[in-house]
Homo-oligomer: 397 residues x 2
């Protein structure tokens, strides 16, 4: 009997949205005739059809289907008050049924907002390394964006082209604001972005920039001062610092903290025990190996990354020494999901601060900045937690 019904033509029709319209029309038609069993059949077919096909309608089609103007439908969907509640419900149901999704580009063009946030990652030619912290930061931020209905855009910017790139981002209008990653000392981008007028939040800060801008950062100086002091109190006197690249603001601050702690205890930093490089495992291994071979080797290491700390551990083992007994290690720990520092008992004594949490907070901050642009810049200083693990002990030598 199915062949005799008009739905055969439905299935041959080309546009999906049209098919759905026809299904609806069929139901109306038979309903008006009182042929409820046929309505039932059509409705079942429609359901199966829906499960199988993936169609989409636009506002115009939706409004035609509803016999309403686009204005009313748009208002109903966006929660404006000048719509009858019955009408609104009809609209919402139809939008659901017809699988309506507003086109982002059109919406953006009409409203002037992009409903997207950009993440700008500086890539330099010399240092090909991708910041390992990035994935977790993004994960934290992504959740916040998703909740707010924002998209997330990524842009890799070669550091020679920064000015051009940021102008581009602003002018092309693909995002409403950006998160600035990897700030260096005296970072030019901040002044640039303020001038351009693109809302932004810096993940980190920039020493020597005296402009009002929004940021979220870990108290790197404080953390490293605390960590170094912890080692000093355990009796360590020769404490090495394996830092990240010190043109990066975070690394600069960590060195300051380290030096502060030494000076506060009447010691002065020994350049021979201080390194500043890309924070890899091999870097930690090599630096530690060299230093441990000195006449007066360090008895403790302060590392800027858990990966570097792993390298130090390798060197310590290789030298036949025992961690915590012969050599102590304390490291910064970004609480990366794939590099957890042990579980109940931490492997390394660490200064821990979740970068994922920071990502979420940075996102929230930026979103609220975009929502109320007149507000003064916000900032947030996170404290790293000192976690006692099994990599530190009293100085032996």
């Amino acid at each position: 009997m199915f062949e005799s019904l008009p739905f055969v033509s439905v299935c041959q029709s080309s546009a999906d949205a049209e098919k759905l319209n026809i299904f609806a029309a069929l139901q109306n038609f038979y309903a008006r005739k009182g042929a409820l069993h046929v309505v039932e059949i059509v409705s079942n077919l429609q359901r199966k059809f829906k499960a199988l096909w993936t169609y989409t309608v636009n506002l115009k089609q939706l409004s035609e289907y509803l016999n309403l103007s686009q204005t009313t439908v748009s208002r109903a969907l966006n929660g404006y008050p000048e719509v009858n509640e019955n009408t609104r419900n009809r609209v919402l149901k139809a939008a659901q049924d017809l699988n309506y999704r507003p086109n982002t580009r059109a919406k953006g063009l009409a409203t002037g907002r992009a409903l997207a946030i950009g993440h700008v990652i500086p890539v330099s030619n010399q240092h090909e390394m991708v910041n390992p912290v990035f994935g977790d930061f993004i994960a934290g931020a992504g959740e916040a964006y998703a909740r707010a209905g924002y998209d997330m855009m990524l842009t890799l910017v070669p550091d020679q082209e920064e000015v051009r790139a940021y102008q581009d981002i602003k002018a092309r209008g693909t995002v409403d604001g950006i998160i600035v990653h990897g700030p260096v000392i005296n970072d030019e981008r901040i002044a640039l972005l303020l001038r351009i007028g693109l809302p932004f939040v810096v993940h980190g800060r920039s020493t020597d920039v005296n402009l009002p801008y929004s940021w979220i950062d870990v108290n790197n100086r404080g953390a490293f001062e605390r960590g170094t002091q912890f080692l000093i109190e355990l009796g360590h006197r020769r404490i090495a610092l394996l830092n990240g690249l010190e043109h990066m603001d975070f690394a600069f601050r960590r060195r300051k903290g380290y030096e502060n702690a030494l000076r506060n205890h009447g010691m002065s930093p020994d350049p021979a025990l201080m390194r500043s490089e890309e924070m890899t495992e091999v870097y930690g291994y090599r630096a530690a190996k060299e230093m441990l071979a000195r006449d007066l080797p360090p008895t403790a290491f302060v590392c800027s990354s858990i990966i570097t700390a792993i390298g130090v551990r390798r060197a310590v083992h290789e030298a036949g020494l025992v961690l915590a007994r012969d050599v102590s290690i304390i490291t910064h720990d970004d609480a990366l999901s794939y590099l957890e520092n042990g579980d109940d008992v931490p492997i390394f004594t660490a200064l821990r601060s979740s970068v994922r949490y920071a990502g979420g907070e940075a996102a929230e901050m930026l979103l609220s900045l975009i929502a109320s642009p007149k507000h003064a810049p916000k900032s947030r200083l996170l404290e790293a937690e000192l976690i006692i693990g099994r990599s530190t002990g009293p100085a032996s030598t």
Copy 2:
């Protein structure tokens, strides 16, 4: 003398684009009067002004500035032939001068293309871990996109909402195609995306899906077969496998490779020596610690991740054993930039395949798929390289 010139008003004018117009007008004005030194002055001012301010014009303003229609300007900029070469050059110069950038949303709306690629990262509630591979993959892909003028969008999709999310992506029209990350065995997303008609490339493959789709993958089975065989040839008989989660396709294939190698040499896989978990350091440590405490401990480990291998190394040291002499480790190595496996001498004997390279290739593949949608799906199988490092040696026991 400057105060007497009209440019004072220029600097008070509000719209930046307008200012530039006035500068240009000023120059024309004085040029026509023959006052070339004033033209010079204005031009200098303009240059300084440009360096300091960041303005942007849209097509309309640009075309008014040029006394041309928007049509002609658009065509000139997009390389259409029906424009006089002189006109085109004038347009290009003006676009440069006025710092014109086409609005992406408008362009996208008009052309129907988004000039953006989406990366969809499944996030599950149970496994909060962010794939450490992701950053490097993105870095590789990002370069390819930048070259082609594409943007990159990130979407975190909770795995319960997959169907909805992908429909959304298609309907909202923010991207022209997507890269699918983290395929599992019999991954539903592939059929879904084919039905939706959104171009995509899978990073990895999906066993049991017999549909034509595009993918790029490492020969995981082959690599692990090779690696295991390498250990067998060194005399190892009790070889443990510390795999990733085996509902993930890559892990499933790795197990197959491992088992193949064993069987090919008349051995059968021992469930007690096989684990499948999220690939963390602690996982490697714990599993190795337990296994090494057995009556007949394994003499070698095959790991799915360098991070896990590091955990195994820790357990080996802690047990007072020596790597390569007492226990061998071979691991998969994604050649992550922040987790390099040593330098000249690799730390671990490894099956190496650069995920960054894969990212670049995946991106190129997707872009060409979008450029010519009629083409058949493409695929690419990358071979992992066996790198002999210092973590393997002949079986001792």
